[in-house]
Symmetry: C2
Subunit: 333 residues, 2 copies
């Protein structure tokens, strides 16, 4: 686990979108986001207090999180001095960039000298077990998608927020780099070795209180030729009691695969449920989460109403409408 | 690719079964198996000429293959002197053991000194691409199983032998350590990083002549909670034109998962085909391969007849009966 709270390093972000990891932390874990650190020319601003390293330490910050994606995912030379200052001041550093902190000799040396930890969340640090398929106590909900990048993380984390607000026991379980940085822990599933994928998901969602829900971040899609194996491991390792179908209605082909159309929500429902019932005979599909960002208010409303009537399940856009109705459906399981 | 032909190192095998990798090479690639090397006390004998390292080099051997599994999969101290002698004499070494050649300092130093290669086939050495899902020329047949270890490798390699004997264009494509050592190449799929599994299978089965068949070794099972993601990647990366269902009729639960019963052949047929048709709409299930080793001749015959009548597909045990009828079915696709 990454120690909290955080100082969010925005570097020299060339636009606000480049700081989307930091934005996610601020949105979903505001209690972790004590301040931001910006270099000259930074075009992003989260509206958090700008802090020096010294001020961050005084405020109780434990970890500097690189919350910005450079073009190419690299650690810019201009960042190194600040990162070394942070290590010297007693902060850990966490990063989800493709280029690893642990490949930067100066940072490794500084971390060793000061007894600090470099967290590269893109790669696993745990020797995950082989999945044993045994039933675990507590309940689990998994977001599955018609495609990649249709809002599975957003759906799971929005449901967690709603459930916690209602006093339900709920934990978002991150399986991707952004989710791990937001929550401070998780499994970077796309970087796990094949034989241990399902075991990593079991590790991520252990025994819990009987009335506790894990909200598991989905990855890929059963219908995405590149990543379907990862999705399969989530279903069989996660042993879900409930599935939420996630969809983006304007997409014309599978992400990155121009020759592949999207499956219908009916197909996704039937296939996901069949596979989930291999490991949990009681699994149910409870709701549909639609990313309507590219639709007008009126079109979104009409689309959701049509899907809801057709599928006989609550269909909502948690960004526009909140996750309340999805949580209602989960609570009824 | 591992250079052939081989000297099969049997070490101090405590029984014939410990040398089953070497036996597989001798059975399936006799032209690679020029000789065997046994230490004192070796309880295995493949009936090949016993050769010293010097004799093997003189006979044209290029690689010493460690064809024996120690208890614990380790490289025994008593082997090191022979392995160093082989490197000094100009041989490469290949191993599928859990303990890696590349972790043995003495061997690494000797290989460097003599310009030889250590092949640890348990780990990938290629940076596999992300799968692109594009249609490739040539045909592909994949063995899928109701469970792990039901004869998928045997089925694929037996079909290759039959096809080559008939003058058909066919290549067995290994996806596990034993298959890789037998054929000299392949992808150790269970050790590939999640995001690249399907891409590794595409890499393994590239464009080929329109009338060429890849016979792809299956792994795991769609119904095996621990490994189903690997199976899924094989189906979506392999883009099979034909599927062979593999089954072992006496198994009472999924291998290693006492709480899980086996699926029916009908379930396996329907699910495998549905998933394969995501990437290849023309895929067909063409036959059934049953491992009847634990049945009497009469029981095996009765079981195969019952399955064949019930499923409407040729059902054979390729070990007892040869793979001819499976190849007939493939040729008819």
């Amino acid at each position: 686990m990454i120690q909290t709270p955080y100082l969010l390093f925005l570097g020299d972000a060339h636009d606000p979108l480049a700081a989307k990891v930091a934005q996610g932390i601020k949105d979903w874990r505001p209690e972790y986001a004590l301040g931001q650190f910006r270099l000259e020319g930074c075009q992003a601003d989260l509206g958090l207090p700008d802090m020096s390293i010294e001020e961050a330490v005084a405020a109780g910050v434990k970890t500097l999180v690189i919350g910005v994606a450079n073009r190419g995912g690299v650690i810019a030379p201009s960042w190194i001095a600040v990162l070394k200052e942070a290590l010297a001041a007693g902060l850990d550093i966490a990063s989800g960039l493709h280029n690893l902190l642990s490949d930067e000799g100066e940072l490794v040396a500084a971390a060793q000298m000061h007894g600090r930890t470099l967290h590269d969340v893109r790669i696993p640090t745990v020797a995950y077990p082989i999945a044993n398929g045994e039933k675990r106590q507590g309940k689990r909900c998994l977001a599955v998608g018609t495609d990649c990048s249709v809002g599975k993380m957003y759906t799971a984390i929005a449901m967690e927020r709603e459930m916690v607000a209602r006093g339900m026991k709920a934990t978002f379980r991150a399986t991707g780099q952004t989710g791990i940085l937001i929550t401070g822990g998780g499994v970077p599933l796309d970087a796990v070795i094949a034989d241990f994928m399902a075991g990593a998901v079991e590790y991520l969602t252990p025994d819990n209180d009987p009335d506790h829900w894990d909200l598991i971040e989905g990855q890929g899609s059963l219908y995405h030729a590149s990543y379907s194996g990862v999705t399969m491991a989530l279903i069989h390792g996660g042993q879900p009691d409930a599935l939420i179908l996630c969809h983006e209605p304007t997409r014309t082909h599978m992400r990155g695969l121009p020759g592949y159309g999207l499956p219908s929500l009916e197909d996704l429902r039937d296939l996901s449920l069949q596979l989930a019932q291999v490991v949990n005979a009681d699994c149910k599909v409870v709701g549909i989460s639609v990313n309507t960002a590219k639709l007008s208010d009126a079109d979104a409303e009409a689309y959701l109403a049509e899907v809801e009537a057709r599928m006989g399940l609550p269909a909502v856009d948690p960004y526009r409408q909140g996750a309340g109705r999805l949580v209602d459906a989960l609570a009824a399981v």
